[in-house]
């Protein structure tokens, strides 16, 4: 049996050295060291190279497309996710349980499957693409197509972060407000909405973070025209395929920094949500 070397507090439970050792070495080998190598390679490229890569029109355009569509998709998901979560928690209708378990489909469905399915749905002769084209709206091979794919992948985040808060919500608060003469609209706005807000913002940020990095479901429907409908992850892949490793690492390290900032934001928002729920 492995000896217990108590780093902090003595405990009768064995296995501290073994499990922490496994955790740190496995995590280090698979996640930490590889990500450090990315930053190392990026700094190898030098500041001048970094600047020319980042300010290249194609890179700037890709970042604009990625951030714009991701933010818009997260916003759509925030609005409709709130409605969906509300309907699923508060109302009873046939098939509610089934719908509730289907919400996670975008998590479970491989992204390439989602990608080809959306591409065929919104193609010029597709089920939705046909009528939309007739109405003069082109979805496939435009930034609108990227938006559709990102709404799909981000859909569960808002619903799943709001649902537990709504379930936990103390309905006596609503009753008190009603007793005191508040109208339904003002109860929703002033009693129900404020406690949901942190969860809503967490869901928005989670959907946004996911949308920025999304690749598989986007590339089939986007058309991938440089400076028009090309997203950052695809630009990285293209640079790698052209063996432009320096260019790819520069763009990727910038993406990674954005992800870290978003991760920090998500952690802070979640702490806020917990405080709201606890207090």
């Amino acid at each position: 049996m492995v000896a217990v070397h108590s780093l902090r507090r003595r405990s009768v439970i064995p296995g501290f050295g073994l499990t922490l050792g496994i955790t740190l070495s496995y995590l280090g080998l698979i996640v930490i060291i590889p990500l450090c190598v990315l930053f190392l390679e990026a700094s190898d490229a030098g500041l001048a190279k970094f600047w020319t890569e980042v300010t290249a029109p194609r890179t700037l355009a890709a970042f604009r497309v990625s951030f714009g569509t991701a933010a818009f998709a997260a916003f759509i998901n925030a609005v409709f996710g709130l409605i969906v979560a509300w309907v699923l928690v508060r109302y009873d209708f046939p098939g509610r349980r089934l719908v509730d378990s289907l919400i996670d489909l975008p998590f479970a469905l491989p992204t390439s499957v989602a990608g080809i399915s959306l591409a065929s749905l919104y193609a010029v002769n597709g089920w939705l693409g046909g009528p939309l084209t007739a109405a003069g709206i082109k979805v496939a091979f435009t930034p609108l197509g990227i938006l559709v794919a990102l709404v799909f992948v981000g859909l569960p985040f808002v619903v799943r972060t709001i649902e537990p808060v709504l379930l936990d919500f103390d309905r006596e608060l609503e009753e008190s407000a009603a007793m005191l003469g508040a109208s339904r609209g003002s109860i929703l706005l002033r009693v129900v909405f404020p406690p949901i807000l942190p969860a809503l913002m967490t869901g928005f940020t989670l959907a946004f973070a996911r949308a920025i990095g999304e690749y598989g479901s986007v590339i089939f429907i986007a058309g991938n025209v440089p400076r028009y409908s090309e997203i950052v992850p695809l630009l990285i892949v293209i640079k790698l395929e052209q063996f432009d490793y320096a260019g790819a690492t520069v763009v990727a390290s910038l993406m990674l920094m954005v992800s870290f900032v978003l991760l920090l934001a998500i952690n802070l928002l979640q702490a806020w949500t917990r405080r709201r729920q606890g207090g």
Binding site: R8, V84, A108, V113, F152, L189, I236, M255, S259
Partner: protein, 298 residues
């Protein structure tokens, strides 16, 4: 924001439903109906139609084409590689998750929250970057590329690269299910078992594992689903060599780009069935693990 309009039953007289109290504790019937309609339209467009179209396209050219697409050698090789990858990745990440959860929840040590954040990191990183870091490490121009080349070992554009990239992407699943669960359960039961003379492994197998089995299964299920379906990370390291380094999601891409739409959707339909089975099992496990979860309050 789509806030429902006030439905002031208090002043408006008889409620729309005779059972409802006169207090405005829910929205008016019209508002409820509208919200349900908005929600279902949104879900039909963004969830149901993409799901249905997979099967419609898969069977467009008949059952024979469908079966032929699934039994051709390239498809079978893709299925085999996907199964092998999942069989290697899922047990490794399950063991990591168990070890990490044990270290984090049974002991106190500094920088624990940082460790938890680092474990979650692969979820915040674009899958493309998850694959790319291994190209930088093991690719021909990579850090260890020349050394690996001299020793005749290929990782990138070969099966090991696919496995490592999948390990990266699915690393957090089991750990993040087990950590909150084991945190809530505390250490008393393990301490009691150990004080009564049980060994460490015996405590793990007979006290801890029975307590966490549903959470562990839940994590394994999600990890498996992602390991089978991962596309971005694997796509970067695979090289798309048909019959050798094509997993099922990559095979779907290759077929689709070759305009073999019916075949692409046939393979996609298998992956969709896997996703639906995952969702069904997940719902069952959620129900199994906590039948009264919403009611139970500590």
């Amino acid at each position: 924001m789509a806030e429902p309009l006030p439905a002031n039953d208090l002043v408006a007289g008889p409620p729309l439903r005779p059972v409802a109290s006169p207090l405005p504790l829910t929205e008016s019937f019209a508002t409820r109906l509208t919200l349900i309609l908005i929600a279902s339209t949104f879900l039909v467009v963004f969830l149901i139609l993409p799901l249905v179209v997979v099967f419609a396209e898969a069977f467009r050219q008949g059952v024979m084409t469908y079966l032929a697409a699934l039994t051709e050698p390239a498809a079978l090789a893709a299925i085999r590689l996907t199964v092998i990858t999942a069989l290697i990745v899922v047990p490794l990440n399950a063991m990591f998750g168990l070890a990490a959860a044990w270290a984090i929840t049974k002991f106190e040590f500094p920088a624990k929250n940082l460790l938890i954040t680092l474990i979650d990191l692969p979820f915040s990183v674009s899958p493309v970057i998850g694959g790319m870091v291994f190209v930088l490490l093991f690719g021909l121009q990579g850090l260890f590329g020349p050394w690996l080349g001299a020793h005749g070992v290929s990782i990138v554009f070969a099966v090991p690269g696919i496995i490592i990239a999948t390990l990266f992407v699915t690393l957090p699943f089991v750990a993040r299910e087990l950590i909150p669960l084991m945190q809530k359960q505390g250490t008393e039961q393990e301490e009691a078992a150990l004080i009564l003379g049980a060994g460490g492994w015996q405590t793990l197998l007979r006290v801890t594992l029975p307590n966490i089995k549903w959470g562990l299964l839940y994590g394994i299920l999600l990890c498996n689903g992602r390991a089978i379906g991962e596309f971005g990370a694997v796509s970067v390291v695979s090289g798309h060599i048909i019959g050798l380094t094509n997993t099922m999601p990559l095979h779907v891409e290759v077929l689709y780009n070759d305009y073999a739409f019916a075949s692409a959707f046939a393979v996609a339909s298998l992956l969709t069935l896997m996703a639906l089975a995952t969702l069904a099992l997940k719902t069952w496990l959620e129900w199994r693990a906590s039948p009264h979860a919403s009611r139970a309050r500590p």
